[in-house]
């Protein structure tokens, strides 16, 4: 067999290359440099992310591309609007996460600075691969690249036991879920004879029961990653135990990454005629996720744990849009919009939470929020706004997200699911409002710890949430241009 180098257009995948490359640079610097210079870690990674962001924008303006074509095969990477959109999401998540981590790591006495940012960069590059992958193999690699650094990051507050324990739990269940995913992907490959999504979809029906088993198993694996019921049980423990900065990063990045791959597979690798089967399954999972996430969140007393259940519930809303995929031309753009609003709102809320938190994992109970409005009205109002956005009140980004998701679900005739969605949204108001009334309607003491980086992150998240809430048109158009072309064809729109 003659070896031939595959055609790789590096320029197209430059954003991912930059992010991963900066991760490698950090890794080397960490070994070579003096302790004082390691403080540069966050700045180097910020620089890398900004570069990658600029490159993404440049590519986005240029159009969509395919690259990395193996001999006689199909492109492994598709850099279309969808991929650009997700790349931007991950880069922004990364930038905000780094801004939040800088003061947080100091507060939490975490030493491994350069190491931490290196892991963060690798994880982001994995997420980016998930959005660009057009090949089963690459989806697997992206997922592992996303997950493995996250396991370590959860445990980085060593020797704090809660942190180590959360890392352990996340690792065991995460690795297990990866096993499911890759087993499913392997079956899909076996049933269809190819790893390229365009070929998989052609041969899917011929693959019969093996193809369906593969599809189901890889969905289970991704459901683990996005924390969908009944595969959610790791979420609360891990979110509570992990350092808050990592929780914030993971609650957005890992979840959105999982959905990026899930939507791409369901829209491009599965033929239309199988839609009734898997949409029913997804719709049921979505309903269970919405109900469990929102109901269990009510009884939480730890705000990180509460937001863990809340993030499970938000996954449920995104799943609603996924269930509408084959039947509504707006489903992809709806889920993209939802993820965009969720990203800013959730990261913003976590930023305020980190300011309230005290060293040693204290200050994370709802009790600690008593009387916050009297100590610092501005911060209390900002957190209240994020809470209203998570509920989905009008004039917040969260409302626009819920609105388009419900719209897509109704368009797909999933009325029953929409009703569950709105009822659970009303339930969710209860626990989000609890934070608000603790802040405004009780007395209490304790101070916030401000820092410029944290304030910057909060401001960015706040401005973005406001902008989406008041002027959604621009963002909706952005999400719409980023939706998958094939999905639009499927739904006949």
């Amino acid at each position: 067999m003659e070896f031939q180098a595959p055609a790789i257009n590096i320029a197209i995948i430059l954003p991912v290359v930059i992010v991963a490359g900066f991760g490698l640079v950090l890794m080397i610097l960490d070994m070579l440099m003096e302790d004082e210079l390691r403080g540069l870690g966050p700045w180097i990674s910020l620089g890398g992310l900004v570069l990658a962001g600029l490159q993404t924008i440049a590519l986005w303006l240029g159009g969509s591309y395919e690259t990395f074509i193996p001999v006689g095969g199909h492109p492994m990477v598709v850099v279309d609007g969808y991929a650009h959109f997700f790349n931007m999401l991950f880069i922004i998540t990364g930038i905000l996460a780094i801004l939040m981590s800088m003061p947080y790591l100091i507060k939490a006495d975490i030493d491994e600075k350069a190491e931490y940012y290196m892991l963060l960069m690798f994880s982001i590059s994995g997420m980016m691969l998930m959005g660009m992958a057009n090949d089963l193999l690459l989806i697997f690699i992206g997922l592992e690249l996303l997950s493995i650094p996250l396991y370590v990051m959860c445990g980085i507050a060593r020797p704090r036991e809660a942190s180590e324990e959360s890392a352990m739990k996340y690792f065991l269940l995460g690795a297990f879920a990866s096993g499911f995913l890759v087993f499913g992907l392997a079956l899909l490959y076996g049933a269809t004879g190819s790893t390229a999504l365009p070929v998989v979809v052609e041969n899917f029906t011929a693959g019969g029961v093996i193809a369906y088993t593969g599809l189901a198993m890889q969905l289970v694996g991704l459901a683990f990653k996005v924390g969908a019921v009944p595969f959610h049980m790791w979420t609360p423990d891990v979110y509570e135990g992990a350092p808050t900065a990592v929780t914030a990063f993971m609650s957005v990045g890992a979840k959105v990454g999982g959905f990026a791959a899930m939507i791409r597979i369901l829209a491009e690798a599965v033929p239309q005629e199988s839609a009734p089967i898997w949409t029913t399954a997804i719709a049921i999972i979505a309903a269970a996720t919405l109900i469990l996430g929102n109901v269990v969140a009510i009884s939480q007393t730890n705000i990180k744990r509460m937001l863990a259940y809340s993030s499970i519930a938000h996954g449920g809303y995104i799943l609603m849009a996924v269930a509408a995929l084959p039947f509504s031309g707006d489903a992809v753009s709806a889920s993209l919009t939802y993820m965009l609003t969720y990203m800013f709102t959730n990261l913003g809320a976590f930023a305020v939470i980190m300011m309230v938190e005290k060293s040693g994992n204290r200050g994370v109970l709802l009790e600690d929020y008593k009387g916050l409005s009297k100590r610092n009205l501005g911060m209390a109002l900002i957190l209240a706004y994020f809470m209203f956005s998570l509920i989905g009140m009008p004039l917040t980004g969260g409302f626009i997200g819920k609105f388009v998701v419900f719209q897509a679900a109704i368009d797909a005739n999933l009325i029953w699911l929409t009703i569950i969605g709105v009822v659970t949204a009303a339930v969710s108001a209860y626990y989000y409002l609890r934070v608000v009334f603790y802040m405004f309607m009780f007395d209490g003491q304790g101070d916030l710890e401000f820092s410029p980086a944290m304030m910057t992150a909060t401001t960015v998240a706040l401005v973005a949430t406001l902008a989406i809430g008041f002027f959604p048109g621009l963002w909706l158009n952005l999400a719409r241009t980023a939706s998958l072309a094939s999905q639009l064809l499927m739904a006949g729109g």
Partner: protein, 102 residues
């Protein structure tokens, strides 16, 4: 020649043993081993599919190599975590990891 389905059955059995191991064992090291079993099941599948369906394209083998690499990385991270916890608590039994609870 042995039919493809035999390989798939072996691989499915291996996967189920792994599944059972993760669910039933309480020792973190044993759970890690069970996870590795599931990954090996995947490898059997991949190689079998490659050999029987399209031996012309190397993607199946390449994939199996990737799975091996990932399994190694996971084992490294996992064992490091386990050792770190063991140093603190003298235990790697999952049920004793109970600071975080519902």
């Amino acid at each position: 020649m042995i039919p493809l389905s035999w390989y798939l059955i072996v691989s499915a059995c291996l996967f189920c043993i792994g599944l059972y191991g993760v669910m039933a064992r309480r020792n973190a090291v044993a759970m890690l081993m069970a996870v590795e079993l599931t990954l090996n099941a995947v490898n059997i599948n991949l190689i079998a599919f490659w050999r029987y369906n399209n031996p012309g394209e190397p993607i199946g083998v390449a994939w199996a190599i990737f799975v091996l690499t990932v399994a190694a990385a996971e084992a490294a991270v996992g064992l490091a975590l386990i050792i770190s916890i063991y140093r603190q608590r003298d235990s790697v039994v999952a049920e004793e990891l109970d600071i975080l609870k519902y």
